[in-house]
Every structure is written in C-alpha cells, then in structure tokens.
C-alpha cells in the first residue's frame, strides 16, 4: 500500500495522519470526556454561583452581581492567605529543588548499597501527607517531642520554644515538614535525568580542566533543564494547593498566621457554608493561576 510504503521509506507522515483522524480523536475522547465532566463542571459552577447569593441560609439562586467579588477584594484575610501560600511556595520549591539536585549529584557515582539508600530516601513521599504533618507536629512538641529534647542536649540548656505556635518558628517547621516529604520526589526525577547526561560531555569538560561546579552548571544543568522544568511545574502547582501538612501542623495558626488559601477556602466553604463567596474565591484563584501557568507552559512548549 502506498501510504505504508511512504511511511517506511521515511517520507512524509501526512498520509498516515490523514487516514487516521478518527482514530486519534477516538484515542483522546475518553480521557477528555472524564476531565471535562469532572474538571470543568466545578469551575463553571463556582463562576455561576459566585454571581448568586447562596449562603448557609439563603439559597437564593437569582442574579446577585459582583457583590461577592467586591467583598473578596476587601477581605484582608484572603489576601493574607495568598501571601502565605506564595511564601511557602517560593521558599519550599527552590529548597526541594536544590536538595534534590545535590543529592542526585551525590548519587551519580558509585555508592555501596545504593539501591537501599535510594529506597529509604524515597519513603517520605510515600506516606500520607496528613500523617506526615502529624508526625512532625509530635516531633516538634516542646515537651513530648524528640527535637526539643535533642536540641536541648546539644545546646546545654532546656529549650522552651513552642515551635508550632511561636510566629518565628512556625513557618520553618511547616517548611521542614514539607521539604522533608517532597524533596525525594525531586531527587528521583533529577537523578534519572542526570543519569542520562552523556558522560562523554562531562568527561571531556573535566579533561579540559573545568572544575566540578563549572561542569555541573554549564553542562549537566542545561542538559536536564526540560526535566527540571516539569518537576518544578508539578511541585509548584502542588505547593500552591498545599493543605494537608499545614492543616495538621498548625491548623493555619497561630490565629491566621500560617493560613494558606486552600485552608481559608476550606473554612469559608465547609465551616461557614458561604457557597457563593467560596465560589468567587475559587474562580479568582483559578483565573490567577491559569495566567501564570499558561504563560510558563507556552514559553516551554514553543521553545521545543
């Protein structure tokens, strides 16, 4: 058959494509259907309901206008929660990246019992985030937890910091728990990527006299950039949605000091049943996130 002959000869693939338009759409249909049904509906619902007046009491589905958005813009607590979320994301992401990167570099060489070490290091990402939060909360308990005990021993005097309430320490504690849980994920992805960097290139560079760091920065990093970007994107998006760990370690406390946007959404939506208000919040957050994500993705996709 002509088309296959053309294909085998390495010629234009268009023939193959045209012949199978139906096929390619059939392939994506089920996935798209599910994602649309489940993913699109809540967004539309949030938009629609945010323009109505549905609260705990009033199930008023008539047009209410942009009142809730006004309320939202004046809500200090909401904007503070955005700031908290951004703070955590901006600190945790690079930290996880750098630790993952350095560790991956360390594991490139020959290590004894490497599989065992890798397996252990991967474990934190595997435990339920809620439980991770609980364990760190316990570990940081001033009286009953081992960390204070150990630090007091090192320091020589009893340390009386209430880690999970003191504003100075509350963010570090959350960040420690978060980074501990997710740097293995970065580590794994980067390790795989680094393993594939052509050693000829790095060897050549070393022969030419380039130091460890120069080789690393100039050759390895650019080589793994596509992968790193994906990892950063995935982790970044997950961080913006952070809920479990913060909720268990501090419940957003003290007060609302560590309250992230997902936690605030949880409170307005689930504790207070402000359906319309939460809808407005959700929609706004989605719009903001979309702008950021789509811009970033476009840059990368197009540069391929």
């Amino acid at each position: 058959m002509t088309t296959t002959a053309a294909a085998v000869a390495g010629g234009p693939r268009t023939g193959v494509l045209l012949q199978d338009r139906r096929f390619k759409y059939w392939l994506i249909a089920p996935a798209v259907l599910v994602m649309l049904l489940v993913g699109l509906f809540p967004i539309l619902y949030s938009l629609v309901v945010s323009l109505q007046n549905v609260t705990l009491f009033d199930q008023d589905y008539s047009w209410y206008g942009f009142g809730w958005y006004e309320f939202l813009f004046e809500d200090d607590r909401f904007w503070e929660s955005m700031w908290h979320t951004a703070l955590i994301t901006v600190i945790a992401l690079p930290t996880e990246l750098i630790i993952g990167l350095l560790l991956a570099r360390m594991f490139l060489g020959n290590l004894r019992a490497k599989p065992v070490f890798i397996a252990i290091i991967l474990l934190p990402s595997v435990v339920c985030p809620i439980v991770v939060g609980a364990v760190w909360r316990l570990m940081f308990d001033t009286r009953y937890g081992p960390i204070t005990h150990f630090l007091s021993w090192v320091w020589g005097e009893t340390i009386e910091i209430t880690w999970v309430v003191d504003p100075t320490w509350v963010y570090p504690v959350i960040l420690v728990a978060e980074v501990w849980q997710w740097f293995p994920f970065m580590f794994l992805i980067l390790l795989a990527a680094l393993s594939n960097v052509d050693t000829d290139l790095t060897d050549a560079a070393e022969v030419d006299g380039a130091g460890f760091w120069t080789t690393f920065i100039r050759i390895s990093l650019p080589a793994i950039w596509p992968v790193m970007f994906i990892a950063i994107l995935i982790r970044g998006l997950d961080l913006v949605r952070i809920f479990d760990i913060v909720f268990v370690v501090t419940k957003g406390g003290p007060g609302t000091f560590t309250e992230t946007t997902p936690i605030y959404m949880y409170i307005t939506g689930f504790h207070q049943f402000e359906t319309s208000y939460t809808g407005a919040m959700v929609f706004l957050v989605i719009v903001l996130l979309s702008i950021v994500v789509v811009t970033a993705l476009r840059r990368v996709e197009i540069s391929r």
Binding site: D76, D141, T142, R143, Y144, V165, H271, Q272
Partner: protein, 477 residues
C-alpha cells in the same frame, strides 16, 4: 474479647436500672420503648461526634435499644469541628440522618435553615415533661429556641477544676510559705488573681518537676477557656443597640492579656497543647491544677479507663489525691455540650424522637454519664444525687457537687446566628495574641471582621437572636 465484656456489662447495668424502675411506676423511657415497638425492624441513622461519643452511643444506647425495640441504630460520626458542617451537608444533600447530636451554640442556625423539628407535641403525647424538667437549669435552655423545644440536652459539659489536694490543702509547709508570701490561705483559687498566684507559687517551688497549671491553648479550644474569663472581667459580646462587636473593650483586652500571660507558670510548650496533652500532664502529676471538661475528672481516678477504647489515655498517677471545685472566676464555661434532635428530613421522625426520649430519660442517662469511657457528663438534677454515681470513687460526691455548682453558675457559649463564624474569629484573635500580637490589635481585627459578618447576616435579625441569648440567666452573670 473486651467488646463482649463491655456489652454484657452495659446490658447488665441497663437491666439493673431498668429492672429497678419496672418495680416502680412506668418511666418515660418505658413509654418510649412501648411506643417504639411498632417500628421494630426499621433502622435509624444517628450522627454524632467521632470517637468516644460514638462509642458510647454504640455500646450503651444502640445495643440496648435494639434489644428492647428491635430498631437498629446505624451510626455515622464526624470530628467535632465538622459536626455542624456534616449535619448541614446531609440536610442539603442526601438527607440520611434521623437523630442528630447538635451543639447548642449552633442550634439557631439549624432551626433557621429548617433542619430540625420542634419536639413539643411528642413530649405531650409521650409524657416527657417530668424528665425534661429534671434537667438541670443550667442546661435546660440549650434545646430551646424561640419558645419551642428542639432538642434534649444530653451532655452536661461544663468546665470543672481539678487540683492536687496533697500539694495545696494538705501540705503544711506550702500552707505556711504561701500565707507568708501572699498573705492569704492557700486553697483552690476562686478568682483569676488567686489562680495566677497559686500557680506561680507551685511553679516557683516545684518547677520544673511540677508546674502550677496546664490548660488547652491550641487552636479550636482556646475560645472555650477565654469566653468565660472575658465575661468575668465584665465583657459583653455585642453592644445591644448597634450590634457592634465589643470584644475589643477594656474588659476584652485586659482578660486576653491576662490569659496570654498565664503561660508563664505553665509547662513549656503548653501554648500548643490540645485537650489530651494538657490532661495528660495533669494525669501524670506534672501540674497541680487543671480545669477542663468533666470526663477528665473521672479518668483521673482511673475510673472506666481500662478498656481498649481508652488506651490512649495515660494512666493517672494521682488517683485519690484530687479535689474538685468550680473553676476560678466562679462562672465556668458550659463548653460545647450536646443535645439530641430530630432531623426534619427524616423518614422516621417519630421513631427518632422515641429513641431520643429513651436515651435522654433519667435512668438511661444516669447509666451513661457514669461510665468512664462515655464522655457524656451528668446533666440532670437526679444525676447529681444518684447514690450509685456518688459512690463510684472516694470523693465522687465532691465531683458531682462541683459539677452541680459549676452548672448552676456556668455561662453559655455565644449563641447567635452563624455562631461558628464568630467563634472562629474569637479563636483566631486569642491565638494571634498567644503568638505575640498585641491583644488590642488582635481583638480589633477580629471585631472588624465580626462586624462585616453581622452586616452580612442583617443587624436586626442578629439582634433578635442575640437578645434571646443575653436575656438568659446563663449568658452573663
């Protein structure tokens, strides 16, 4: 298996109480059982707080009810912070629940959205007024809203003080030293100032082995320990004329500042402690005073804690050394509490009501509130004088007396429309102050948001409900 032992014990106790009554006239519980016979074979769905509350329902009420009437009681439960949420979700959604445990502070909301039904007619029909009036005055109003009864108070939550008699009352050295230092007799404190001084004294002398006091100060619970202090200092929640939030008043700022400063004699890290950690420190003998929900008062005597479901409670090292009293300030918080209500969307409303009547009746509730593992607490006039209960341990009588007095002088949680929002705001303000923020500024921020909430709800509407609350005896004392 322990489960079996518990069930038999529960059944035996039930029969004991029941048999005792059969010998006398027919009780409200009996009437409920008789009337429920025609629903035999049906299933009721009960929604309660996860953990020990649910356990109590399951082992004490559900098993006996099934035996007596053939009605199966199916349970769902949720953590206490989500009880309100899940109740409303069910009402707006699948509408499965028949019997509800409701926290009194949220009753106005549930009535306003139409989720619960008034019980007066059934109370007439099945003769429940006697038992209802036996409920201690402190708790009776919990289930009432705008003149109708929507639920039966079933759990006498009030804060009660536990203290180490051996360190305070009975230690001659301490008595002498304290008298010399502070100028009055060392005894369980009755005012906040005395609380500070007694606690400081203990911490100074015995720390870091024993501290003066430990309290739950973690998010979600602190508000129950500040709201009564606030009122003791003369604070009021709202300006009744304008419904402006009044938490930032002088009383509010002073009480919050004092509350935050209580940490100076508490064990390090107490600021992060929840109910269990604080209770644990008392049970293990690390602190001299602790006021909290009544259940701990039974556990501290190692009563009822030897079953599997209670194995997370550390054993008490101070059994027999404890005295009970009304917490400082004299007007303890009637914190949380539960009433049994009937869902308006239930298909089995009458059966649900009968279950509520039976569970809440004198005999059945006496049995339940004296169980160690059940964290239902005494709430009936008859509970306080019940001989079985009073002899449960050496100074159980003192415990019951303290509970009775505490109840009579207790103050109710702020109960208004969307109470949950205001509670959250108060809680956040306290936490912010604990975290180091200036008390005035924390309360002012909270008030600013509270006023937005009031405006959203409608000032007049809220004033209506608030006035109903503030007219109660137990709103401000």
């Amino acid at each position: 298996m322990t489960m079996w032992r518990i069930t038999t014990a529960a059944a035996a106790l039930g029969l004991m109480f029941g048999a005792g009554q059969l010998a006398n006239a027919e009780t409200a519980g009996d009437r409920a059982v008789a009337a429920a016979q025609k629903y035999s074979g049906t299933t009721l769905s009960l929604h309660s707080e996860a953990g020990l509350q649910a356990l109590g329902w399951e082992l004490w009420n559900a098993t006996q009810w099934k035996e007596l009437t053939g009605i199966v009681v199916d349970q769902t439960s949720a953590p206490v912070n989500e009880m309100f949420v899940t109740t409303v979700q069910d009402f707006r959604g699948p509408a499965n629940f028949d019997v509800l445990d409701v926290a009194p502070a949220y009753l106005p909301d549930l009535v306003e959205i139409g989720a619960v039904v008034p019980l007066n007619d059934w109370m007439d029909e099945f003769g429940y007024w006697d038992d209802y009036n036996d409920i201690a005055g402190a708790y009776k109003g919990w289930g009432e809203y705008k003149g109708e009864v929507y639920g039966f108070p079933d759990d006498g939550d009030v804060h009660v003080m536990m203290y180490r008699k051996d360190l305070i009352d009975e230690d001659a050295d301490n008595q002498a030293e304290f008298q010399e230092k502070y100028g009055y007799k060392l005894a369980v404190p009755t005012t906040w100032k005395e609380f500070d001084e007694v606690a400081q004294f203990i911490t100074d002398k015995y720390g870091p082995d024993i501290f003066g006091a430990a309290q739950p100060r973690a998010k979600g619970l602190t508000l129950y320990f500040w709201m009564d202090m606030f009122r003791d200092y003369g604070g009021r929640f709202f300006d009744e004329a304008t419904m402006d939030c009044a938490w930032g008043s002088e009383a509010g700022v002073k009480s919050l500042t004092d509350f935050v400063n209580q940490r100076r004699y508490m064990p390090p890290g107490a600021d992060a402690w929840g109910f269990t950690e604080a209770a644990a420190s008392m049970l293990q003998g690390h602190v001299a005073m602790h006021y909290t929900w009544p259940g701990v008062g039974r556990w501290i005597q190692n009563v009822g804690t030897d079953i599997e479901a209670m194995n997370w409670v550390p054993p008490s090292h101070v059994e027999g050394k404890i005295g009970y009293a009304v917490p400082p300030g004299g007007t303890p918080e009637l914190a949380v509490g539960w009433i049994i209500s009937v869902s308006s969307k239930s298909d089995n409303q009458e059966a649900a009501y009968l279950f509520a009547q039976w569970s809440n009746s004198k005999e059945v509730s006496t049995g339940k509130t004296s169980l160690g593992y059940s964290i239902r607490d005494p709430f009936r006039i008859s509970h306080y004088s019940d001989p079985g209960f009073r002899n449960l341990w050496s100074n159980a009588g003192e415990y019951l007396d303290a509970l009775k007095t505490a109840g009579e002088n207790g103050v109710q949680d702020l109960t208004v429309i969307q109470a949950q929002k205001y509670h959250d705001l108060i809680d956040n303000a306290i936490q912010a102050a604990i975290g180091g923020e200036d008390a005035q500024s924390a309360l002012d921020t909270a008030c600013k948001q509270a006023n937005r909430v009031t405006k959203q709800i409608g000032v007049d509407r809220q004033r209506d409900v608030y006035q109903q609350f503030s007219a109660q005896e137990n709103a401000y004392r």
